[in-house]
């Protein structure tokens, strides 16, 4: 079983603190807008190692860590 981070796009405020914390550089801003007018982050699940550093840094509890079924 692998662990991956998932974002709740509506909670994301585009601060990018997770991006600075990610050791795998697998987080970026998406081009879509959420209802508040922010570009929420997107996580490249291929590269994500589930370390949870992004969760440590997120001021908006917008990220969760899940166990996922192997692809």
């Amino acid at each position: 079983m692998a662990r991956k981070a998932f974002v709740d796009e509506e909670r994301c405020k585009e601060c990018g603190l997770c991006i600075t914390a990610c050791p795998k550089s697998c987080i970026s801003f998406s081009s879509k807008l959420n209802s508040k007018g922010f570009h929420p982050i997107e996580i490249d699940h291929e590269k994500c190692i589930g370390c949870g550093f992004c969760i440590d840094m997120c001021p908006d509890t917008a990220i969760e860590l899940w166990e996922v079924a192997e692809a």
Partner: protein, 252 residues
């Protein structure tokens, strides 16, 4: 990708409201840390927080615990009142720098000096946030604010106040540490410090305080990323991190 099992999500002590804080604000991180510690210690049902005046005036919007809102600067007095009335409660006074280090200096000094068995979480972001970026008692020398448009001049506005160092010399303070939230490593140190503070309170050992150097991108006029850099490079230089006091107060 199919989600199987939640490993780490929002702590139970926080509800799911989206916080009103600006993007990249340190309050959200510290709220989560406090809530995680409350969960881990299993004290949610006997925890009372005190919300100050300042951006975190509405902290109670986000916690699944009891809360009091206090007048500006008076949170340690309110916390002491609650603790004296119900010593079994775990009481946290959550205060910003204007609240704690300007208008509330009398209350914080006397709560610490009495060895009051409460925990203070002191958010130091070197600015008045809610009123729109005026100089705080902790604003750095040369730092611009809306009431120091040319930068803080110590001859006119005094020096940034080092609260942790100050309270550490009082005989009543049990545990004082200064931390920050600029990286996952520092976030975990902050969490350990807050946990230790609550544990000491649970043992009845006296006054504990964790000062967290925290970013305010909006009023610093910086991006959230640059705000973290400002904390690491400028604030830590003046406000060194570490434990300033860790020794038993009452030897009875």
């Amino acid at each position: 990708m199919e989600k199987k099992k939640l490993i780490r999500g929002r702590p139970d002590a926080l509800n799911d409201k989206i916080m009103h804080y600006c993007p990249g604000c340190g309050h959200g991180i510290v709220h989560r840390i406090v809530a995680e510690v409350v969960d881990e210690l299993g004290i949610k049902d006997r925890f009372v927080g005190i919300a100050p005046v300042g951006c975190s005036v509405f902290a109670y919007w986000y916690f699944n615990t009891d809360f009091h809102q206090a007048a500006h600067g008076r949170a340690p007095a309110v916390a002491s009142g609650i603790k004296r009335a119900r010593p079994e409660l775990i009481v946290m006074s959550y205060q910003g720098d204007g609240d704690l280090a300007a208008i509330g200096t009398a209350e914080i000094v006397h709560a610490a000096n009495r060895g009051e068995n409460i925990t203070v979480i002191f958010i130091n972001n070197a600015i008045y946030g809610m009123t729109g970026g005026q100089m705080a008692p902790t604003t750095l020398i040369g730092q611009k604010s809306t009431t120091t448009p040319l930068g803080r001049d110590p001859r006119k506005a005094g020096f940034p106040i080092k609260i942790s160092e100050m309270l550490a010399v009082l005989p009543g303070s049990r545990y004082i540490e200064r931390t920050t939230v600029t990286s996952p490593k520092e976030v975990n140190k902050t969490k350990k410090a807050i946990k230790k503070a609550f544990e000491l309170q649970m043992k009845g050992e006296g006054f504990t305080m964790v000062e967290v150097l925290s970013p305010c991108p909006t009023n610093w006029r910086l991006t959230p990323k640059d705000a973290l850099k400002f904390v690491e490079e400028k604030m830590v230089e003046y406000y060194p991190l570490g434990v300033f006091k860790d020794e038993p107060v009452f030897n009875d």
